[in-house]
């Protein structure tokens, strides 16, 4: 009897896992598509921003196209080409998620640069982390955080004024900046774990309902067969 119960449970668990994976995959494909549009929107915004804020570099009365415009057009395209292709041809995969997470943070860095390091543009990083949490995959948030910390760490070494405004910041200053990102991460990771748990519970309930429904169908089929045999016998 207990063997039958264990076998039944393992069948339900396997079905629940399949439903959970299916739902997570469908959700992640949707989020990948959302990021394709977001990348295109950010790309356009970067170009419009560069053309509005700094279209030309001047030398006296002679002007040339400003480096920011080239960076927005070529650099912006370079950043989004891989994640967009992955989202189209490899949607829902782990690699796609992590490349999207890294590219989204690079897009933040680009927008921050194009707006001359405006503090307001730094909010893009925090908004992006929230979008990445839609994947319900905390590892994608870690990738994004590593990219932000790595960007600050490397620039802090080779180009400190661009991040901290001073030429000789303390070596640990990148940790202070990354610390605020990590602060948000804690809550987003918790939200991801809870979200996954809710999906798993819902999948488990669905698997049980399906199993019960299958049992009911089997029972009614057996009942119908018994009835028809009875009718044949009575005839």
């Amino acid at each position: 009897m207990s063997e039958i119960v264990t076998e039944r449970d393992s069948v339900i668990d396997a079905r629940a896992a399949a439903i959970r994976d299916e739902q997570l995959h469908a959700r992640r494909v949707r989020v990948d598509r959302m990021f394709v549009w977001l990348f295109l929107l950010q790309y356009a915004a970067g170009i419009v921003g560069a053309l509005t804020v700094s279209p030309y570099a001047w030398e006296g009365k002679v002007h040339t196209i400003h480096l920011h415009v080239w960076v927005a057009v070529i650099g912006g395209a370079g950043i989004i080409i891989l994640p967009i292709l992955l989202a189209i041809f490899r949607p829902g995969t782990t690699l796609t998620r992590h490349v999207i997470a890294a590219s989204q943070m690079l897009s933040s860095a680009l927008l921050i640069h194009l707006t001359g390091g405006r503090i307001e543009t730094h909010f893009h990083v925090f908004g992006s982390l929230a979008f990445l949490a839609f994947y319900l995959d905390w590892k994608a948030l870690i990738t994004a955080t590593v990219v932000v910390a790595g960007d600050h760490f490397l620039r802090g070494i080779f180009w400190p004024e661009s991040v901290y405004g001073v030429a000789n910041p303390e070596w640990w200053r990148f940790l202070e900046h990354a610390g605020w990102v990590a602060f948000e991460d804690v809550f987003l990771i918790w939200a991801c774990v809870m979200g996954r748990r809710e999906i798993a519970e819902s999948a488990s309930r669905q698997a049980q309902v399906e199993h019960l429904s299958e049992l009911e169908q089997l029972k009614s089929a057996a009942l119908e067969m018994a009835m028809s045999e009875l009718q044949v016998a009575s005839a």
Partner: protein
């Protein structure tokens, strides 16, 4: 099978472009932002031929700007902070470059308006950068600070990089000098060229 190979190849190429672009972009932006403009080669005293007459016994700050230089907005933001922190002992002049063969109004950009909004600052148009030459400045954002005796105490920029406002040695030096906490200072200047080698030769 062929389509699969094509997609894989495209993704590998995109991956290479992605890596290359990120590296090249960082390098290009770094070079752009950290390369200073031509530093001043000014005299150590107030240029007597200047049409600006400084008040004796007061600090006089002169900033040269190119009205179309987007990086100069950061210099003006820093100048605003310097004016606030230095108090009324500082009189400020912003000289706005305009080529004389360009139509009037060419200089009236957002940067020009930002300069006009500065408190206690006089904004003057500098045709062909004549005043800039007298002061020995070549780059937008170039700042000169003279003491009450007309001696040059600071020459340089007031931003840490091209187009980056924020705490930096240049603006701190200016404030420190006015507050008698430092004697002299200099700092690289970041911005578009006002006086180019070509225009200099023509003069």
């Amino acid at each position: 099978m062929k389509r699969r190979a094509l997609i894989t190849t495209s993704l590998v190429v995109a991956g290479l472009i992605w890596t290359g672009t990120v590296g090249a972009m960082y390098q290009a932006v770094r070079r752009f932002e950290t390369t200073p403009g031509r530093g001043a080669s000014g005299t150590t005293m107030w240029p007597v031929r200047s049409r600006i007459v400084p008040e004796r016994n007061r600090w006089t700050l002169v900033m040269l700007i190119h009205p179309h230089c987007s990086c100069t907005r950061a210099s003006l933001q820093e100048l605003e902070r310097i004016i606030e922190m230095s108090g009324p002992s500082l009189q400020t002049y912003v000289l706005v470059y305009r080529p004389s063969d360009f139509q009037e109004g060419w200089e009236k950009t957002e940067t020009f308006e930002a300069a006009k909004r500065l408190q206690r600052a006089h904004v003057l148009v500098d045709p062909d950068g004549r005043e800039a030459r007298l002061f020995g400045g070549f780059t937008s954002g170039q700042t000169f600070l003279y003491d009450g005796e007309g001696a040059l105490r600071f020459a340089g920029g007031v931003t840490s990089l091209r187009g980056h406002a924020g705490v930096n040695r240049g603006s701190m030096d200016v404030v420190d000098i006015v507050r008698a906490r430092a004697r002299q200072g200099t700092h690289p200047v970041f911005g578009c060229a006002i006086v180019t080698t070509e225009s200099e030769q023509r003069q």
